[in-house]
Symmetry: C2
Subunit: 201 residues, 2 copies
């Protein structure tokens, strides 16, 4: 695997990922960036009246901020992803019945996935987010139940992973950034790191 | 890795992929479908006056058809991908200078990626295609040269891979199907296999 993107960045400090998501870690590694994982334990219950985009940005920032206090010399990356349909936020399903309801709701319709990123380094605080619209084909109950049986829905906002074997076949149309849906919009993330890389020269 | 999608398909025959693309093989495996690879050696020079969508469908069909003659009892999958900008077709770059010109042309603009698929089984001939619009951020010459130095552009239509480390950071916006750009639109491919799976019951 080449590390072309990494070679273009002159990062001044090690990078810590304030998220336990194995998908986010894999995306960092895809760019050739070795990260240490230090999950931030924060209360994710934000006021529900807040706009989803502000909410994910705030949560990404709070995750990064907690870890930044412990590792002030590192570059800290926080992220948060949520799914919105008809103004209603869908987080991770709590059990099989919840996952079933969620996937039936998403079936045949278009929802929005929003991922917020915060990158903190010394006094720099970069916070932004990306929204991506996803259209599902109509799913059968057999498909939904088979997917739930794999256990894949339970650690994912909206109850599906676009990058896993069934999830990939659910999506007819994407409008936005694919990696936003996986959990870390790479083009935005790369540009944030590039800014830090340039400013510290 | 779960094989949820595969578990939903009752395929009557082994699947042969009539393409040497390692990315298409990986996408089949992602769905849990074991494929044998038998690349079709065909003359890919289609008449340039043909519409790009018809061209990729015809090439996908011709690749599958050649292999189908040798393996009449298997399910044969052919595919072809092309990139179109301003009505001009961009295939695989021939050398570094060609790749540089191509990537400079794509920089900061929106192009279309089209992938045709043909799935042949006995007398069944399923042929279809998907188009996806991709917007690049502005690329610097340093980024373009670093990317070309990895060698990644040379086996890819348009001279980039959306799934490789630099390519992923080039794309600000996708409109369509992500897997079309990787080389095999999975939602369409899955539904084609499902049709065969149902008809042979």
């Amino acid at each position: 695997m080449s590390s072309c993107a990494r070679g273009l960045l002159a990062l001044p400090s090690p990078v810590i990922l304030a998220s336990s998501s194995p998908r986010r870690k894999a995306l960092c590694e895809m760019l050739g960036i070795d990260v240490e994982v230090v999950p931030a334990m924060i209360d994710e219950d934000a006021p529900s009246s807040r706009a989803p985009r502000l909410m994910v940005e705030e949560l990404a920032f709070r995750k990064a901020s907690v870890v930044h206090q412990r590792y002030p010399d590192s570059i800290i990356v926080g992220a948060d992803t949520t799914v919105v349909l008809d103004g209603q936020v869908l987080n991770k399903p709590q059990d099989a019945e919840h996952a079933r309801t969620m996937l039936r709701t998403l079936s045949g319709r278009t929802h929005t996935v929003i991922t917020g990123i915060a990158v903190l380094w010394r006094s720099m605080q970069l916070v932004d987010s990306r929204c991506t619209d996803i259209t599902f084909r109509s799913l059968t109950d057999v498909e939904i139940d088979a997917y739930i049986a794999t256990g894949s829905p339970f650690d994912k906002a909206g109850g599906y992973g676009i990058q896993d074997d069934c999830g990939a076949t659910f999506v007819t149309d994407i409008h936005g950034c694919y990696y936003t849906v996986v959990g870390l919009p790479l083009e935005l993330f790369y540009r944030m790191l590039r800014l830090i890389s340039r400013l510290c020269r």
